[in-house]
Amino acid sequence: MNFDFSDDQKLLRDQARKFLFDKCDRKSVRTILDDDQLHYHKELWSQISEMGWTGTAIPEKYGGLGLGMLELCVIAEELGRSLAPTPFSSSIYLFAEFIKNYGSEDQKKKFLPLIASGEKIGTFALSETNGTPKPSNVRTKFTSGKINGYKSPVSDGESADYLIIAANSDDKGNRNSLSLYIVDLNQNGVSKKSLETIDPTRPACSINFENVEAELLGEQGMAWDMTENILNRAAVLYSFEQVGGAQVSLDEAKKYSMERFAFGRQIGSFQALKHKMADMYVKIELARSNAYYGAWALSTDSNELPVAAAGARVSASDAFNYAAKENIQIHGGVGFTWDYDCHLFYRRSKLLSLNIGSTRQWKENLISNLEKRNIV
């Protein structure tokens, strides 16, 4: 059995960790948090693009490094640890994966090199209303070559140059009416409106489309199937970001509990706090193991992916949400001040657990995929 990352992948992890430790400190994260006008850290983005991270899992012939999904998982964990304020997930886990998996040869040639180099940013939008996205909630339409409609919230929408959206290609309003389209956002008829998010280092906006040009991605009427698959793939990568963030939350809680004294003792010597941190550790190890399984399924294109991805996602959301909120608790009063970093993780944990579908929704996915697997 070899249920671990390879030595090369671990080396990549060490390098990424060191790089982000130097270039993505909390001060950098806060420049995006504190400035409404900044949507991502441009300097960091160009540095990680130059190193090729954005093209990690994009084939060499499309300008990427041609490594695999396992390497991308490694990078994801480090981005999660450092709270990197970049549109990496939108552009790489979502946009690039859609194009890579469903784009025509022309589309791959056109978009992937621009995404791999970091020169352009892409994202994906499904949601139009509150609540769980479902086919009947999609009102955006594609008629006579033009998109009309509205999407909100669109993650990293303001920084994005390209967008993949689901829109109705006929009037029947069912699952098979929906197709995916690639939209160039730098054109007339696209109007963006900033939205504040619970984690401003991962921004979103709403976008209105009025007679906007778009090109079909993949097969007509297959939007929902393609989206499910790409969200499964993204869920594994998100789970690594979440595990990374959860681990740092625990590490910082631990550090603080050993420096802070009360009643003449390190507060980390009190069982009430030790047990909390032990519980964080338990959830993180479960999440890490589930994420590894997701990584295996992702990297081998296994038909276990829907179950593995949902399991990784549910477990990682649980671990990061728990670790981030209890990190504040262990810090006591300073934990809920703007100056201390606990809230950066508290914000990020909740945002990540909502961003590609809520935990509730992924639990439902998990069980329905288990039922399907059982029938097979």
Binding site: N2, M258, Q271, A278, E285, S289, N290, D318, L366
Partner: protein, 427 residues
């Protein structure tokens, strides 16, 4: 990343599988049905859970011994032990592979594990050559069963707080006191015991370790009836029990060190204990009806099922991580320390929730209970014990906090004071 065996691992797995296929019966997901080959009911990992009184228990023991002998002859009874004592001379990964394979079969369990897993290795480190030659081979074949006499009424989680008196009288020691939670004392031939030989020394310094024949005069064994209705443990009373000094393992006052050897050998829990888990309740939700139809179609049920699934598989994949280290000949990380902590509570939650789903039928715990064969009723009781036995949830959290995370030890009142001056409450 892959889950494949190496060539040697695959060959060993085949060897194990061939042996099991030829000699044992496969387990099903929900099965507490006694079979012809193995009438012992392996509910929720409880050892020797046998209903039907002494005779049935005796029969189950005999069958377990027959099984153990076969297993020993095939070489699988003590895979990690050196060949000179009848072991396989194998590696931890081989032990793991065998446990994985055996997990799929209904075989007796709960009789020989403590001896082979913990007490035998203690004798290998601390025993004299003639002791090793005399006792170890019969421990493997199951001809002689061993028990571990550690816990006392006033020393559970705080094991070093034991009070069992050991007084030297010439070439003999005289033991007086009481042990408790002794698994298998009622069928064990031999035992290993820690006792206090010097009450005026510091707590961890005044202990001495012995082995003894369980038929030595002065030993009285009383079973403890548990809330599950079964008796897996005993109280063992010692009244002027005399044992020769030659049965001492380690030096006088070195008992704690020897006991640590025993405790360090708690076997790597990589073979999942048979028990209640996601798979059992998942099957049950496909049979049970709630107000709006089958339980599995109810969204609240589905949400809870997802939580248990990720815990269950998360543990399984955590084991895979540890096994990977073993397979590479490395020492696994501390990740497996979460295993029992998660398993016990999960079992309790799963059981209680399954009873909820059964509604008022959930309260029926009758021998002929047609509803899922009492599986969850049994689990409801057994899991309460599992959260305590072998390290309480709280002790396990302390261990994770201190040994894995490196958090400071709790302040202790018993480190610098002679044992007989420590406050001890009523006991």
């Amino acid at each position: 990343m892959d889950f494949n065996d190496s060539q040697q691992e695959a060959a060993f797995r085949k060897e194990a599988r061939d042996f099991l296929e030829a000699n044992a019966e496969k387990r099903s997901i929900i099965s507490d049905k006694p079979s012809d080959k193995n009438p012992q009911i392996a509910v929720a990992g409880a050892p020797e859970t046998v209903k039907g009184g002494k005779e049935a228990a005796q029969e189950a023991l005999e069958r377990a011994k027959v099984w153990q002998k076969k297993k020993a002859e095939a070489g699988f009874a003590a895979i990690l032990w050196p060949k000179e004592f009848g072991g396989y001379g194998g590696s931890p990964i081989q032990q793991v592979i065998y446990s994985q394979e055996e997990h799929d079969y209904l075989v007796p369990s709960g009789y020989f594990e403590i001896g082979i897993g913990m007490l035998g290795p203690t004798m290998m480190v601390w025993g004299k050559d003639e002791d090793k030659k005399r006792y170890l081979p019969k421990m493997i074949t199951g001809e002689e069963i061993w028990c571990q006499l550690f816990s006392e009424p006033s020393a559970g989680s705080d094991l070093a707080g034991i009070k069992m008196k050991a007084e030297k009288d010439g070439d003999e020691w005289v033991l007086n006191g009481q042990k408790v939670w002794t698994s298998g004392a009622h069928f064990a031939d031999y035992g290993m015991i820690v006792a206090r030989s010097d009450p005026s020394a510091l707590k961890h310094k005044g202990l001495t370790y012995f082995y003894l024949d369980m038929r030595t005069p002065g030993i009285e064994i009383r079973p403890i009836k548990q809330i599950s209705g079964t008796s897996n443990f005993n109280e063992v009373f010692f009244n002027d029990v005399r044992i020769p000094d030659s049965q001492r393992l380690g030096g006088e006052g070195e008992g704690w060190k020897v006991a640590l050897t025993t405790l360090m050998n708690e076997r790597l829990a990589v073979g999942d204990p048979p028990g209640l888990d996601f798979d059992q309740i998942f099957e049950a939700t496909k049979e049970l009806e709630v107000e709006d139809g089958l339980a599995i179609k109810n969204s609240e049920v589905r949400q809870k099922m997802a939580d248990w699934y990720v815990q269950s598989r998360g543990l399984q994949y955590t084991k895979f991580r540890s096994i990977t280290a073993l397979s590479k000949g490395q020492t696994p990380g501390p990740e497996l320390s979460i295993s029992k902590l998660v398993t016990a509570s999960k079992m309790q939650d799963v059981s209680a929730y399954a009873l909820e789903l059964m509604d008022s039928s959930g309260m029926v715990h009758h021998d002929q209970n047609p509803v899922l064969k009492n599986l969850f009723q049994n689990g409801y009781f057994f899991s309460a014990a599992m959260r305590i036995a072998g390290g309480t949830d709280e002790v396990l959290r302390n261990i994770i906090a201190e040994r894995v995370l490196g958090l400071p030890q709790d302040e202790r009142a018993d480190k610098k004071v002679p044992f007989n001056e420590l406050p001890s409450g009523k006991n």
